[in-house]
């Protein structure tokens, strides 16, 4: 049975700031949904609400019909949804292998056998191309490797739906190409669902089955990458009214 995540009417206020004003979206296992929008539009906030880091002011998030909004993040991970951090947060005193082992032990698969968990960790590290650095202390990894480690960790939790927060940011052209290929390969092999928050257009447009556009806390467009890119509301949000008129 494929896992389905549905967020409905999500509002989130921070004091006086209304970060999300009634956003709804859904995604299923196996689908890659891109989430784009100008800076400050609320994309990361939405990820935080879905993953349990924040509680929505209003609205619901359900996973296969079960309400998960407002639940503690560790339980949401247990149910199969895991999020990466925009700025990687590795466990500094542990090696890459150990970092991923933690995820394998405490993720949704709740392994109790250390040896099995380490083996799973090695498998996942190989999948993301970090197996050579398995013994390196996480604090000694490059930024690009730390991002891969973030990805490895959420994969190792056994999550069926990944929430990726700007994993493609700050990469050179060559690194970006590699990362896109890597992610496409991983997704094909694992058949997970992913909600990908991104600014790097090439990554989003290449990888996504569907794209959702958010501006100032509201959804302004949704469709295939091709449709969304031509949507006048989207062009206006990014480039202003002049450009939208020019494109029409």
């Amino acid at each position: 049975m494929t896992m389905a995540l549905v967020a409905e009417g999500i509002h989130k206020d921070f004091g006086g700031v209304r970060a999300l004003r009634g956003v709804s979206l859904s995604l299923t296992e196996g689908e890659i949904v891109g989430l784009i929008g100008p800076n400050g539009s609320g994309k990361s906030t939405l990820l935080n609400v879905i993953s349990g880091v924040e509680k929505p002011t209003a609205g619901t998030v359900t996973l296969d019909g079960r309400r998960i909004d407002g639940k503690p993040s560790h339980r949401i991970v247990g149910w199969g949804v895991a999020k990466t951090h925009q700025i990687p947060k590795p466990f500094p005193g542990m090696t890459s292998g150990e970092n991923v082992t933690v995820a394998a032990l405490f993720g949704s698969l709740r392994r109790t056998d250390l040896r099995q968990a380490s083996e799973e960790a090695t498998r996942v590290l190989r999948l993301v191309g970090l197996e050579a650095k398995a013994g390196t202390l996480a604090s000694n990894l490059t930024v690009q490797d730390r991002k891969r480690l973030e990805l490895a960790r959420v994969i190792a939790t056994g999550a069926r739906i990944l929430l990726l927060d700007e994993v493609f940011a700050g990469l050179s052209a060559g690194e970006l190409r590699e990362a896109i290929e890597l992610f496409a390969r991983i997704q094909k092999e694992l058949r997970v669902g992913a909600l990908v928050v991104e600014h790097v257009m090439r990554a989003v447009l290449t990888l996504s089955h569907r794209v959702v556009v958010i501006e100032e806390g509201r959804k302004i467009a949704e469709g295939t990458p091709q449709e969304v890119v031509r949507d006048p509301a989207v062009i206006e949000a990014y480039l202003g009214t002049e450009a939208a008129r020019a494109a029409a």
């Binding site: 339980r75 991970v77 895991a82």
Partner: protein, 326 residues
């Protein structure tokens, strides 16, 4: 944490894990066994020195469970010792239970107190937890001093015999259990979870770790052992006296031992206990207070220069020892 799985008959896998027990653990086990076997033959005075060394070590291991493994600095840890001692003193004095058996009561008091305190204070971040724990310890002293049922300022005076061997074995058992539990915790799944919490608590939550439950678990363990040791300590002086039982001194010593020895390691608390015990005993007769100049200086130096403590730093800077020392 499913404890029922320990009730099944041993398998080949268990034997294999016994063979994997490292040299450090064997080393500690051998030292403990030698001490246990030799105790009856040691003269009284050296025996009491040994007893208090074991007390120090037991306190260090208790502190290691919370501060060493999670990084949460507990300044008020002495409150578990003190109330454990009071629990013990009350059942021995009023109900006339056996002093040896009642050590378990001391442990139980420590456990329950840690559970209760932990539920409230473990949700606070590092620094605030430290202050909250300090404040609780001070409040506890004051409350006890004002409670006549607990003997008020006088405490509980008992007339128990001089039984150094019983004291020795009581604290030995506590220490042995602690070392065993430290080994089990650091080598299992829980150990990974704790290291993750110590590394980055927020990230740990996002990977499925029930941070609150884990912290509460180790905090309760540390309270349990501190309470039991507090009871034995009171037994050695045949009474429970408020200033002595709740002396902030103990908290400071426990913290110093863990930091000096190496937080979170198996050998660290033992090394820390020895290193702290030597100046403590030496200066006790010469110039009380002076030992803390040495200990304080050592702690400051280690915190700034080699924060992993003696054992942790040896592992880091002497690669050959990485496989041996833990």
């Amino acid at each position: 944490m499913n404890f029922l799985r320990f009730l099944r008959p041993p398998t080949i896998a268990d034997l294999r894990s016994i063979l994997k027990i490292g040299p450090t653990a064997w080393g500690i086990a051998i030292c403990l066994l030698v001490a246990a076997a030799g105790a009856p033959f040691v003269a009284t005075y050296p025996l009491t020195i040994l007893i208090y060394l074991l007390v120090f070590a037991a306190l260090a291991y208790s502190m290691n469970f919370i501060t060493g493994l999670t990084g949460y600095v507990s300044f008020g840890h002495v409150v578990f010792m003190g109330l454990g001692a009071y629990g013990w003193g009350t059942v021995v004095g009023t109900l006339h239970w056996s002093p040896l058996g009642s050590v378990v009561i001391g442990g139980a008091v420590g456990l329950l107190l840690a559970l209760g305190l932990g539920i409230v204070t473990l949700r606070f971040r590092g620094v605030y937890f430290a202050i909250a724990s300090l404040v609780t310890a001070l409040a506890a002293v004051n409350i006890v001093l004002a409670t006549p049922a607990l003997g008020g300022g006088q405490g509980i005076i008992l007339n128990l015999g001089f039984e150094p061997l019983s004291w020795f074995y009581a604290v030995w058992v506590i220490l042995a259990i602690e070392v065993g539990m430290t080994y089990w915790v650091t080598h299992g799944r829980i150990g990974y979870g704790l290291r993750a919490i110590k590394g980055d608590e927020d990230a740990a939550k996002t990977l499925g770790i029930d941070v609150t439950r884990l912290k509460l678990f180790v905090f309760s363990l540390s309270g349990l052992f501190a309470g039991a040791v507090g009871a034995v300590n009171a037994w050695t002086v045949s009474g429970v006296f408020p200033e002595a039982a709740f002396a902030l001194l103990f908290s400071l010593l426990m913290l110093a031992m863990v930091i000096v020895g190496g937080s979170g390691t198996l050998l660290g608390p033992l090394v820390g206990a020895v290193v702290v015990y030597i100046p403590h005993t030496y200066f006790l007769t010469v110039a009380s207070g002076a030992e803390f100049i040495v200990i304080g200086g050592l702690v400051t130096f280690i915190a700034l220069v080699i924060p992993e403590g003696i054992v942790g730093s040896l592992r880091r800077y002497v690669p050959i020892l990485q496989g041996i020392l833990e």
